[in-house]
Symmetry: C2
Subunit: 262 residues, 2 copies
């Protein structure tokens, strides 16, 4: 059975203004919403206020340059594990047999793009009925030593390799806007984005401040890769109660659909 | 450069009498001792009072039989991550760039024996100067659904695959005895065990109570595999200050040597 892949954005499950702060009530609510999914489920979450500050401090996305970064790599990964544990515990409380699947233990990148990922354990987890939970991580990189592997890139990769039935990205805004809705009151929600909208996507602001993984533009670019392969994705507001649940149950049009490929 | 592989026994770093209790002072001391190793280092630790009680409760070593075990697999793995985090934090405090390497994310077993383990990320961690830390874990199994992969089996596997220069197993007794020194006052310490001692090893008591991974006999059996390949191992008392440090610095004869292969 083809799995559903859900991404929980770092800004949904953490407070991005304060380092290492989780939104406990939101995580508990999302666990309840995820409990109602009956298809095989893969969860991927972002770094939010856990991964990004350390990754920035130690300039990990730029690659390995000096030994001082090593302890930074160690701290960045551990911070991500800590966030992951918060989510796993909430899922367990709802009876969901969640199991971490550490990206850096099974993945290599080259210049920040996934070069190899051993999916055999993950496939077995799914087949048994476990819910693998992956996360944005610092991973070893064949070209630059280390890199930051975003949850978004992983979602796109996993959707292709596992033949996902659907992909749902939960973020903290209502979908993809023409400009940043947090700063621009004229921002307009885009209901559908297709591979034909390349220019529009490239014109999107690269809101990279404090986000080492490229923000909304990078998300849309990853998902357009999927749309080209015929895998539909939707970006929805998981900060609003029940939106993620409805999207996972199959309701369309709750946010921005990325679709329209062959 | 060939790495040194160190195993920290679960009974050294946890209090086996009380579930989920770490020996903080011991862990801190071991981190200080490990800091003095200058060769590339791989650390593997056991489950102690974190992994074993849950693995027993949910009968995970027996394989997957019913859906109720799924949440048990989830809890067992998370408990091991929790123990791992204690160790990683202590290592970080000493400036050691330790990084978890989740066995269940990169390993499959078949009937409890390692069938595949993606070592590419781990090799890259070592090459960069990171210290990978692995642990006994619940892993997916091609034949029986799930199994318990002991730290000891992993040590033996890694030593072979990575061409370890030495293997040191830290336990909470002075080495391998003719019988259990905690119960039998006539127990005699064996200074050397070689592949010729097969009968002696098979006659060893299988002290499996509360230990899902087979106790001392299983350890010796794993290490004899290495001795046959010419990789020397020593089982030493890591509960005694400075013994692990001395062993890692190259001192022989501190416990039981497993050696004498081709």
């Amino acid at each position: 059975m083809r799995p559903v892949i859900v991404k929980l954005g770092g800004s949904v499950i953490t407070d991005k203004r304060k380092p290492f702060t989780v939104k406990r009530a939101v995580i508990r609510r999302l666990a309840r919403e995820l409990k109602e999914v009956w298809e095989p489920l893969v969860i991927v979450h972002g770094g939010g206020s856990f991964g990004h500050p350390l990754a920035l401090k130690y300039r990990i996305a730029e690659g390995y340059r000096h030994r001082k970064q090593l302890i930074g790599i160690s701290h960045t990964h551990l911070a991500m594990e800590r966030l992951n544990r918060h989510l796993i515990e909430a899922l367990q409380s709802e009876g969901i047999p969640a199991m971490a699947c550490q990206p850096s233990a099974c993945t290599l990148t080259a210049n920040g793009r996934i070069e190899s990922m051993d999916l055999r354990p993950l496939r077995k987890m799914l087949a048994l009925g476990l819910v693998p939970v992956l996360y944005g991580d610092v991973v070893l990189d064949a070209a630059q030593g280390v890199s930051i592997l975003s949850g978004d890139q992983m979602v796109s990769y996993l959707a292709r390799k596992l033949g996902a039935s659907r992909v749902v990205l939960g973020v903290d805004v209502d979908g993809v806007f023409t400009s940043c809705p947090k700063k621009d009151s004229r921002a307009r929600l885009l209901r559908v984005i297709t591979p034909e909208d390349v220019e529009l996507v490239q014109s999107m602001e690269k809101e990279a401040r404090g986000d080492v993984t490229g923000g909304m533009r990078a998300k849309v670019q990853e998902l357009l890769e999927l749309a080209r392969l015929g895998i539909e994705a939707e970006i929805v507001n998981a900060a609003r109660p029940n939106v993620l649940r409805e999207a996972l149950k199959g309701k369309r049009g709750l946010g921005t659909m990325i679709t329209g490929g062959k």
